[in-house]
């Protein structure tokens, strides 16, 4: 009996016993469906995370920040310098793996325009900060090298702050804002930044709309003259073609040599984000559900198939008497289950796509059922079918013809 005939027979068996087929398909369809949905949502989420990382600087962006002092610092640790503005110049000169280096000074200051005032974050930085973070002014300009060189008292506002302080973005440029009592001229307003992982998860880039930028030299001179040229962080961009890991190692070695102690942390931009961890958990749960239902589906199929083998012991006995080989009987039973499981896989793919659509729609999450996801679904279903079918097929093929004929 050829494989094609086995498949035709398998299809025929599946059709004639459609109730049984439907039952065995249920677990498979649900399992495959939920795996498809998870992979699709996960794919969408991964794409979003990539967008997010690109938004906050891209994969080659590194952020260096001061590490908290240990509870019981050694003299060596106490002697170590914290991050300084000079570190930035040093890295610019020595770190060959870096394309861009920007220093950042961050503090919460009081913003005041006329009689409106509130506290908010102020970033003291350099022009390259905008390049690294891929942020652009929507009106006016960002900080310039000249601003940094001359310690100009100019400010660039995030969209939200410009709107709150001046009532409209257009009125902000050229306006005057006081930061902790120091007068600044607003030279630019940055573009509004938004990224939602899901409709209910809030704007992941909101912090960028709620801050202001001033030249780092101005910040140090005006607000932290007593601390020398201490800064809060360094934002670095690796050269294209250099692996972030390599750049990180070089920066670590250089700063360690300079500070004499590893009192700093280096991390990639966009990592360690709570939202992502949440989504990973979410996907994991879905995946577990999918695997469990597939497993259950597999057991159901194996059982139903076993029952159908028992039901047809006489038939197999007769076929053997007519010359069917053990292998022939094995293939016959297996072909039947494979046909059923491929059907189940296709139906599961359909269900998964529907599920993806519904979940994606209600939770406003992007999701894509790619051909890759589709092939995974079908392959998984086939795998389950094979595993479930092998035992019943083996049982059928090992029947002794005499006993099989005598059965029932």
């Amino acid at each position: 009996m050829t494989l094609f005939e086995s498949i035709v027979t398998g299809l025929d068996e599946a059709r004639r016993h459609w109730g049984r087929t439907l039952l065995s398909l249920l677990g498979l369809v649900l399992g495959t469906g939920s795996i498809v949905a998870v992979l699709a949502l996960f794919g969408g989420q991964t794409a979003l995370t990539e967008t997010y990382i690109n938004e906050v600087g891209g994969a080659g962006t590194l952020i260096v920040s001061n590490r908290d002092q240990s509870a019981d610092p050694t003299p060596r640790e106490l002697a170590a310098d914290w991050l300084t503005y000079r570190d930035a110049a040093f890295l610019k000169e020595r770190a060959t793996s870096l394309a861009l280096v920007s220093a950042g000074w961050a503090q919460s200051l009081t913003y005041r325009v006329d009689d409106l005032s509130f506290r908010g974050q102020v970033i003291g930085t350099v022009p390259d900060y905008a390049k690294i973070n891929d942020i652009r002014p929507m009106a006016g300009r960002f900080l310039s090298d000249l601003d940094v060189e001359r310690k100009n008292r100019v400010a660039v506002l995030g969209w939200k702050f410009a709107d709150s302080l001046f009532g409209a973005v257009e009125r902000a440029v050229g306006g005057v804002v006081h930061l902790d009592g120091v007068r600044y001229v607003v030279v630019g307003v940055m573009e509004r930044e938004e990224l939602y992982f899901a409709a209910w998860s809030g704007n992941a880039l909101r912090y960028r709309n709620e801050r202001g930028y001033i030249p780092i030299t101005t910040a140090i001179a005006q607000y932290s003259a007593n601390d020398g040229d201490a800064i809060s962080f360094l934002t670095l961009k690796a050269r294209s073609g250099v692996r972030p890991r390599t750049a990180e190692q070089q920066v670590r070695a250089l700063l360690y040599a300079r500070h004499g102690f590893e009192n700093f942390d280096i991390r990639g931009a966009g990592t360690g984000d709570n939202d992502q961890e949440f989504f990973l958990l979410f996907n994991f749960i879905f995946l577990v559900v999918g695997v469990v239902s597939l497993f259950t589906g597999g057991i159901v199929i194996a059982n139903i198939l076993l029952a159908s083998v028992v039901e047809r012991v006489r038939e197999f006995g007769t076929r053997m008497a007519l010359g069917a080989t053990p292998l022939g009987v094995f293939v016959h039973v297996l072909a039947e289950v494979l046909v059923v499981t491929v059907l189940g896989g296709v139906a599961g793919l359909g269900l998964g796509m529907a599920l993806t659509g519904v979940v994606g729609h209600f939770m406003q999450m992007p999701a894509v059922v790619s051909p890759f996801v589709g092939s995974i679904a079908i392959t998984t279903a086939l795998g389950v079918g094979l595993l479930a079918g092998i035992y019943p097929a083996l049982r059928a093929s090992r029947l002794s013809p005499v006993e099989a004929l005598r059965y029932g």
Binding site: T318, A321, P326, P401, L405
Partner: protein
């Protein structure tokens, strides 16, 4: 020319729980090509066991068996399946037709299991036999649409389709009314006079009387 069936000292022991049960205790038998032989004996005499071994459905625990010149007593699994497929045609008491296949498909089944025969060829051979057995009108019917006698004639056609060396029947009239039974027996006689070798197991003396020769078993031995 050696006999078609040449068996010496056939024994079969089953293990039932902790006791060994001897179903056959050394049977010698020969069947010549073209013979019509009935194996008779009371139930439990071992006649079915003997036929299963002669029909290559089972292997003897001891003894030698040559079928159509081939020593088959040591064959197992697919090798035995090949011999069954090519040399033996079976007819069962309960017909054992596939309920979901048409008459034509049922008859073609041994050829399907043999492999290497085109679908058209299988159909043609099945049809030719069914026509010869007077079932030309029934090709597309399902077994449950046929009478008992017709079903058994379909089973006979199925047993013959692979042109086996011998036709074996286990109580072929056991599930039939007397009229259908007579019909089926007439078919066997016809086949015999056409040159077919037939081996039949029965406990019915009237059926056995139609055979040329009888082999009587009692308690696992030929008497």
């Amino acid at each position: 020319m050696p006999p078609l069936i040449h068996a010496r000292g056939l024994a079969k022991t089953y293990r039932l729980g902790r006791v060994d049960v001897a179903a056959l205790r050394g049977v010698d038998t020969d069947v010549e090509a073209g013979e019509f032989v009935a194996i008779i004996g009371p139930s439990g005499s071992g006649k079915s066991t003997l036929m299963h071994i002669l029909g290559c459905l089972d292997s003897p625990s001891a003894g030698a068996y040559e079928l159509d010149g081939e020593d088959v007593s040591a064959l197992r699994g697919r090798h035995l399946a090949r011999v069954r497929n090519r040399k033996v045609g079976f007819v069962f008491q309960t017909f054992n037709l596939m309920p979901r296949l048409s008459v034509e498909e049922n008859v073609a089944l041994p050829l399907k299991h043999r492999g290497g025969i085109s679908r058209a060829d299988r159909k043609a051979r099945a049809r030719a036999l069914l026509e010869r057995l007077g079932l030309a009108e029934r090709l597309r019917h399902r077994p449950d649409e046929l009478s008992g006698g017709e079903r058994q004639r379909v089973a006979i056609a199925r047993a013959l389709v692979g042109t086996p060396a011998i036709l074996m029947a286990d109580e072929p009239t056991g599930n039939l009314d007397s009229h259908s039974g007579a019909e089926v027996l007439a078919t066997f006689e016809e086949l015999h006079s056409g040159g077919h070798t037939i081996l039949l197991v029965t406990h019915d003396p009237n059926v056995a009387a139609r055979a040329q020769r009888t082999v009587e078993l009692s308690d696992g031995r030929v008497v």
